[in-house]
């Protein structure tokens, strides 16, 4: 194997097919960029889930005087009912992690803080706000256990899971991610088709060389290697462009534009970029290499 000879063949081939090479580089960059973007979005969703599921609570609102739910027909919650609920919650440990009781007075105070400087705050009286148990679960997905135990029991007006509100939001992000992935897959298919055609043209434009190589007994590997390396080179160049775009997305779009405006949540870290980048590079090279390999098997037969 003569490395310098193969290298000069590759350089020659890349220059000869410059426009096709550029087309491959760009489509690889766009498709891998979308692919990497979809992976980054996925990492973002999982970061947000970790962040938010850690904070969400199940709220058990108790009946107050004005409640009109069926379970509140006996009027406001009694002390006995309240104690029973607390005891039952205690018995659900370790699923129930912490229990926090918010009285009507506390609820009123929080409400005033939350809507300070707003006319709503003046219109709400303390008796209109329900008292509640705020329960944090060790496993937030097991909300149903708590809901079935307390929903509809006398003295309980409503059981609310904050997670359900978040899930709608996460479903939206998941949808975006699916769309990005679908476009990425489509673009990757386009990339493969383009590489197949590029290899056909390259094999055709060098049929004189390859036919002589066959005649003098060059191995298939040696005949195909320059073509394979060309495809891999173009793919690697495209992947590096895409990784560059991903780094810019994380460093500028996420860290400097989005994150300062949405300080209530956490954002994906550089660790995600560090594993997505090699995935993109390897995907690009493997895809281009195998597309080239199977095309050449057809067009450069012994």
């Amino acid at each position: 194997m003569r490395a310098t000879f193969v290298a000069s063949e590759v350089g020659h081939g890349l220059r000869r097919n410059l426009t096709m090479t550029l087309a491959v580089v760009i489509t690889v960059a766009v498709s891998l960029g979308l692919f990497g973007g979809a992976l980054l979005l996925r990492a973002q969703v999982s970061t947000m889930k970790d962040f938010w599921y850690d904070k969400v609570e199940v709220s058990i609102f108790l009946c107050s005087r004005g409640s009109d739910a069926a379970s509140c027909s006996g009027g406001a919650v009694t002390q006995a009912q309240r104690d029973q609920i607390r005891t039952d919650l205690e018995s659900l440990k370790p699923l129930v992690d912490t229990i926090f009781y918010e009285s009507q007075a506390d609820a009123y105070k929080h409400f005033q803080e939350q809507f300070a400087n707003s006319p709503i705050a003046d219109n709400v009286r303390e008796s209109a706000l329900p008292e509640s148990f705020r329960v944090k679960l060790s496993d937030p997905t097991k909300y149903e256990v708590v809901a079935s135990a307390f929903a509809g029991r006398p003295g309980v007006e409503q059981v609310n899971d904050q997670r359900q509100i978040l899930d709608k939001f996460f479903r939206l992000l998941g949808g975006l991610q699916a769309i990005a992935l679908a476009i990425a897959v489509l673009m990757l298919i386009v990339t493969v088709l383009l590489i197949v055609n590029t290899m056909r043209v390259a094999a055709f434009s060098r049929r004189r060389e390859t036919s002589i190589m066959r005649l003098v007994g060059a191995s298939n590997f040696y005949i195909q290697l320059p073509f394979l390396l060309e495809a891999a080179f173009a793919a690697a160049a495209g992947a590096i462009l895409a990784i560059f775009a991903l780094v810019l997305t994380k460093g500028i779009l996420v860290d400097q534009v989005i994150a300062p405006s949405f300080q209530f949540t956490s954002f994906v870290g550089w660790d995600a970029v560090f594993w997505i980048a090699p995935v993109m590079l390897i995907t690009g090279i493997l895809l281009a290499g195998s597309a080239a390999f199977f095309t050449l098997r057809k067009y450069l037969r012994v």
Binding site: R2, S211, V216, G217, A218, S219, N220, I223
Partner: protein, 229 residues
């Protein structure tokens, strides 16, 4: 060196076989002319030797190997033992004489030092000293064919296949090429050459194998071109 054992070759799209039950043996060191009209099966005969085609029936043996059982990955190594020359020279137009010959060695992974040593040697054998840095379009047809022969011979093959090597050359130039092939044959290389050139065949008086319509119609040592009636 070469043995055809009841070889029939039928191409998929054709009714009549290109070769029909051909059996022939060529010994090591022989010089054999393959003659016959166009479409008689000469090219198929040569392609079978090079294992560019497989026989439909029968078996082809070259250099002790039954080509039907040669696995695909071994074919390149098998072809390194055979030199090939064509009517249209098949040189690379953007490479010099030296580079064209060196190409054949580069692509089978020979070391640079070896190439630098054997290429000038073989160019001297074929009589191209002083033209090493010319490109093919700066050479006459005869000289181009000498480059092709140098490329075929540089790896010192046991067998040289020449498919109408003088087909594009004028008679005077052809004589020079035939003298060169004769010299390579005397160096121990088996030569199988297809041709339409009766003058050459008559003059050389070597073994003649004649094909017609895929049949072997004549196999004559020290033969001439148009002998069979």
């Amino acid at each position: 060196m070469i043995l055809f054992d009841h070889v029939t070759k039928l191409y998929p799209s054709q009714q009549r076989p290109a070769l029909d039950e051909v059996s022939v043996e060529i010994e090591k060191g022989e010089f054999v002319f393959l003659v016959g009209p166009s479409g008689s099966g000469k090219s198929t005969f040569l392609r079978l030797i090079l294992r560019e085609e497989r026989p439909t029936q029968g078996s082809v043996w070259v250099a002790g190997k039954e080509l039907g059982h040669l696995s695909n990955w071994k074919i390149p190594y098998f072809r390194r033992q055979i030199g090939t020359v064509f009517q249209d020279f098949r040189l690379l137009p953007n490479k010099t004489v030296t580079e064209n010959v060196a190409f054949a060695l580069e692509v089978i992974g020979k070391p640079k030092a070896h190439i630098n040593k054997v290429v000038p040697e073989v160019l001297e054998v074929v009589g191209l000293e002083g033209k090493e840095n010319r490109r093919p379009d700066e050479l006459s047809g005869g000289e181009q064919q000498r480059v092709a022969i140098a490329r075929a011979f540089v790896n010192r093959p046991m067998l040289l296949i020449a498919d109408e090597p003088t087909g594009n050359l004028d008679p005077g130039t052809s004589v020079g090429i035939m003298q060169l092939l004769d010299r390579l044959n005397r160096l121990g290389t088996t030569v199988v050459m297809s041709t339409h050139d009766s003058a050459i065949v008559d003059q050389m008086r070597r073994r003649v194998i004649e094909l017609e319509g895929g049949h072997l119609v004549r196999d004559q040592s020290r033969g001439v071109y148009g002998y069979a009636q």
